[in-house]
Amino acid sequence: MKGRLFGLVGGVFLLTVCSKGATPRPANESDASTPPAAATDESSTTQQGGGATITGRIKFTGTAPRNRPIDMSEEAACKAKYTTNPPAEETVVTGPANALANVFVYIREGLPASAKYPAPATPVVLDQDGCRYKPHVLGIMVGQGLEIRNSDPVLHNIKAVAKKNRPFNVSQPTAGMKTTRTFSAPEVMVNLECNVHGWMTAFVGVRPDPFYAVTGPDGSFTINGLPPGTYTIEAWHERFGTQTATVTVTGTESKTANFTFAAR
């Protein structure tokens, strides 16, 4: 009986001790994020339009695979939104002259480890419209809000499949609903999917810095405001995989990094 009592007291003691031991962690974290002036030199120059710029065009060689058509007969409200072209998946979206869209380009390595960039207050918007995600590929910063909207009068669930971030799976049964989520760790890519509509997928590149871009239909991208340095740039495509290039920039110069993917 006495032993049990001692055990209990000891347990309580250890518990207090342990929880105290744990407290410094969040304190440290807030330390890191509180002095924005000191840590965010680089990003503040970004905002002022200084720094170096890397631009490029992304192309593909060969024949782009045909996107699979989507059978939306189950969802009349979504199907009705496609009056001209029938809906198809967006696995490979191309533009004129073999331009490749929906490529996520980001700085994989080369930024100073100590650099910290605050997340913008404005969220990134992901819309569910016509039973498709708009956009299909997007970039977001750690801690920045991802505002998920439903413009369809049907049930969507939004499931994030991640390894370095915690997942989530929430539902929006009707139009006009909004949910905001954030990611806590860099990860390329977090996959979003709707299980009600198996064809709906989106890819979210989560970065600790603002130096990323997604190519549009002309295949071009621009990353500006970079501090001087030598960078490994990675271009990620849903189907064609990844490619990297090394670029060194100084001052406010502009450099080019083009990528060519082989269609497969």
């Binding site: 031991g21 669930n157 799976n169 539902s171 049964p173 949910t179 299980n195």
Partner: protein, 522 residues
Amino acid sequence: MNSRILALSVFLLPAPCSLLLSQDTTAGKVVYQKWCAGCHGDNGAGDGEGARYMLPTPRDFTGAIYQIRTTASGQLPTDADLMRAIDEGLPGTAMPGWSTRLSDRERRDVIAYIKTFSTFFADTSLRPQPLDFGREPGGGGDDALRVGRQFYDSIGCRKCHGDQGRGDGPSAPTLKDDAGHPVFAANLHENWLFNGGGTVEDIYQRLRTGLDGTPMPSFSDLLEQKFLTETELWRVAQYVRSLSPDQAPAVRDVIRAPRISGALPRAPDDSAWTAVDAYWFPLVGQIIRKNRWFAPAVTGVWVKAVHTGDSLALRVVWDDRSESPDTAWLAHVGRVLAVSASDDSAGERPASWPDQLAVQFPVAIPSGMERPYFLMGSASAPVYQWRWSSSSRSTAVPGLARGVERFDPIPGGGGTPVGAQAAYDHGQWRVVFTRALATPDTASQLPFRTGRAIPVAFFAWDGSNGEHGTRMAISTWYFLALDEPVPASVFISPVLAMALTFGLGLLVVWRAQRKTSFRRQQ
């Protein structure tokens, strides 16, 4: 100054903490390796030796993604959540309960060890917070169920679980988990197989938390957005619960076939069936003969039987998410075969197979306890079967099975044809088999007799789950007993017995009275 004290405390404190943890995890590792690693793998990745034979696959602990929690979507589970899964197991999966096999200490230790497989548990900013579920509101009844049904529709449950809740919704064939493994939307009529438990509270909690790693989302956001109230979400849980029987069906060994005076009910939805008792027989995967089958879709059959003295009608009802063959399920078949390809059976390409059912009897009613081999007999001792397939649904083929690989149809029914009528409705097959009790072919086609225990067994195939041939769900032998016609003596004897007892009683009283009056006279 403050930070210095903090730094100091950080420096001093890890010692007792890590000591405490290491004790737990070291002991936990021993328990884990002995009892858990066989399925969950040495490194907790859900890839143990047994994992190849399971669907759903064992939990991969490295991602710290857990289905059954009391925390919000995406959050870690609490220790109590993990303890519950270990204590009670996960119904509908291969995970058993451990509360009787492992001590409290062992189970606590193994939880500490399981948490070391993922760095998420070490992140103190991710401390799990159980949701406040409140309590099931009162005022149930039909009105509550009506509200529940209304929100079942409006929050889109039917998309996966189907209009009648049998897991046959339009999105059901496309469902997969994070690892790409096939996932069935739960059949809401079988709450005893719900992974997180089948009570109203359990169902409400799953609606609030979602089942992480699976397609089932959390509906908590809808409360914040005032799409529905907590009470209305509770009504959904009550409605879902109302779809299953009050108690998980108990297995009764003998199907009693009452004798009826009217016409034989040949149609699956003949009103005569409503008065007849239904018997539940669970089915399991055929894992004896290759190719074995570890992922059967049909969980069991509900059986009713009646006879008229001349003929027998046997109605078999079972839940099946698809009316096979159905090309919408081809991708699902591919996923199922991809998972099962890792077991020891031969791989094959997905195809659109039909649904099938077989009812099995011995060729003759055995006189002793000896019965043919339950798994479709053997070459020397065949069994008599009725086979039905969804590709020719109004016929049943009688024949002799000589082991799982060989079935010899009896041409033209051999003078004793077996009738079949089938209906498919919202995730459920209902098939009625009919046959004359007597047969001229007494050598191979069982003559049915009343008042005898006739062995019977059932086999089912869900074609849209990749099932055909030896890949099927099976039962063991049970019995069918046809009521004997009630002889007139049954009604007369009790009356006679009562009259006789009354007469004898009167005699005793009369004699006793005579004796007392004689003594008084003296």
